[in-house]
Symmetry: none
């Protein structure tokens, strides 16, 4: 399991404790899937290895997820949930859209610095299950964007263009950082650049992008219950 900043690691691993049996097994399987995805890539991960890493058999995996595809999706959902939860928590007291935007962007880049393997995993899962991950993450970005516009800080050409700018640039920068291709302070530079793309002048953009990141808080350990995907014995026709 690649190293992950403590608050996030907790958000993921703590879930396994103190859950009813079925949920705990499920959580263990998701954890195993994440490890395998990180090690081999989503595309090359196999159900057997996920099962083996979880210390279970293939059959058990299929008692919890009806398809390989579903494992990917559920991992996506879980990551999205854990990430968004933590990040929005840490932004709770920030009223300015511009700063919220900068914080959000830099948080992902900070993740890429702190644990490149996790960042690459995230990108990989996001590419494989965009519905589950990207969509959720982007909802938060969109809210901050609209807030900044309403507050007169952003002057955007179009919402669609702004979202492509934010999503595309941050994604690309995460990759650069995780792959070790980025210079120092890339996160701040990217945040500044994005804010400028959203219509802020250089100086204020830079000022906002340089404010310190609020700390991530430990999770409150809310078990993730996603409408139990227990395998129904019906399908087939």
């Amino acid at each position: 399991m690649p190293h992950l900043p403590a608050p996030l690691a907790d958000a993921l691993t703590l879930v396994a404790a103190g859950l009813p049996k079925r949920e705990r097994t499920r959580a263990q399987l998701l954890l195993a899937a994440i490890q395998v995805f990180a090690a081999r890539g989503v595309a090359a991960a196999t159900m057997q290895e996920i099962a083996a890493v979880a210390g279970m058999t293939t059959g058990t995996v299929y008692n919890h997820f009806s398809t390989r595809e579903e494992v990917v999706q559920q991992v996506g959902l879980w990551l999205a949930h854990a990430l968004c939860q933590r990040i929005t928590d840490s932004q709770q007291d920030i009223p300015e859209g511009a700063e919220r935007m900068a914080i959000g962007n830099r948080r992902y880049l900070w993740l890429a610095e702190q644990s490149p393997a996790w960042a690459l995993l995230l990108l990989d899962v996001a590419a494989a299950a965009p519905e589950q991950l990207l969509q959720k993450v982007q909802a938060y970005a969109l809210a901050d964007l609209r807030l900044g516009v309403k507050q007169g800080d952003f002057h955007i050409v179009s919402e669609a263009a702004a979202m492509d700018l934010i999503n595309g640039t941050v994604t690309q920068a995460m990759r650069s950082i995780a792959l070790g291709l980025a210079p120092p302070n890339h996160a701040t530079a990217i945040a500044t650049t994005v804010l400028r793309g959203l219509g802020m002048a250089h100086k204020p953009a830079q000022a906002v992008a340089r404010r310190p990141l609020p700390p991530l808080q430990a999770p409150v350990a809310t078990p993730v219950r996603t409408g139990r995907a227990r395998r129904t014995v019906q399908g087939k026709s």
Copy 2:
């Protein structure tokens, strides 16, 4: 074979004609690979289907490429070559870095509008063989970026941030357009947004982004040795 704007289609298909036999077979195989990649996605494409679409056998494919991976890479190289060739040709007379940048960006978005299937293919191949495709394409963007900086039009935070901005935003916008998620005039909005991110004020950025795209010219048709018309490989759709 999905529809592709004529000048680009020519750049790809004409290659097959008038080449020495070995090279021609190779070109036909690459063409077949592109078709299969477009139809099934790079990940799901099989060597057997590529061979079948090329009207050859699996063994023949392995006479030209030693590995599946190599096929993907060579397709990447080929696409990069064909695209960059045409695009830089059309920019030959543009002296301004800012306009060259806008033209480059919009050209890719225009491709996504004109033939979404090809755009998705490009993104797919770029993800599978970044070394071959992305790197080459980005070299041109970098040149234009530096030109714009030297000319005093761009004021960037860092070259790395600027490149992530350009590459990430355009990539993301291509996807939006190709998937039919983008509003009208998305290409111009994106180009404007990118220019602003590179440090231009809104007005000049918009002005540059709105200049008409120079026409793509037909390829000069690589010197034909044998005058004989060659049947090109027929796809399935």
Copy 3:
């Protein structure tokens, strides 16, 4: 649960009511098995789906049947019992072997007309558990056959040949009818043909085969212990 003529349906479903608990659970499981067999075929039926349709868990099934094979056999026994019961009841007052034979044959063909799904289920179970189903059903046919011989109406080549004739022809005709391949009045034609094969002349054979079928009577409803109405298992279609 596919449609089944009322008297037969009753014979099957009423069993579940007013039984001691263990027997009732067992009956519900058998009913569920029948439904699944009818829907998927005996070969494709799974223990998990039988349990699910019965509203129970796999473990419960194994508390009543030690093996999948045993479920099939018990279903065979049950069907044989229910069918023979009703059919012989309706023949109680028929003294002639020839007419009893014709009635027996036509009854099965009538079942195939009335509810093709049940007929196919019957054939399927009979093929999978011949000991349980076929043997029992044939005992009745054999009795009628001997009666007819004794009464001088049948002149058979050998008992074995006669039994193969009866069993084979009726089985095949059930399939034809259930699959919708048979012309109108196939039941009568088959009954006539069988009687001729047993040595009757055409005219009397036809006369006997055309006599009206005696009505099936409703079951006498095995002694109900608890008056409470019990919810019967609900199928999917």
Copy 4:
């Protein structure tokens, strides 16, 4: 490989010699499939065992048959072809429909006597792939039936009833014989019984059913080419 009467064995095995490579492999696989079907039953036969018995790998089987189901069908086709070929050859000089019918019926029963394992295999395959086997075999029976009717020997109630009689009775009798449940001379008794069911009087029916079976001739070794089912690399969507 269970024992099979020489003329039929030849018809099946000789095919493998002197064929182009692909056809020979295919024939070997079909032969292996027949062996496994005979040993385990069609339902329990696995692709891996078929491959192993043929001395090849699973992949090879799938180079010749795209599906397990297709193996069953092709075995059915092959059996039908070989059987019908030999049987109709031996009837070439018989002008009477009644005798042709009796010969056809008795031939299948004779097969069941000579090699019960093959008879059971035939019944098993016929149940699993009725389109391929039953339909072909019944075409010959239908021709003889119509001939007998035209010649005034048969007086049938309906063609459909007659076909159910023939097919059902012979099938059932094959099973009885193959399972060792039938008395001596069952074949003649069955043939007589069927002829009577088709409207002949007892005496002439018995006379026809007792005529000697014409000998089976050795095969002319015509390679069976059934529109090559080579796996096409296209499917999928």
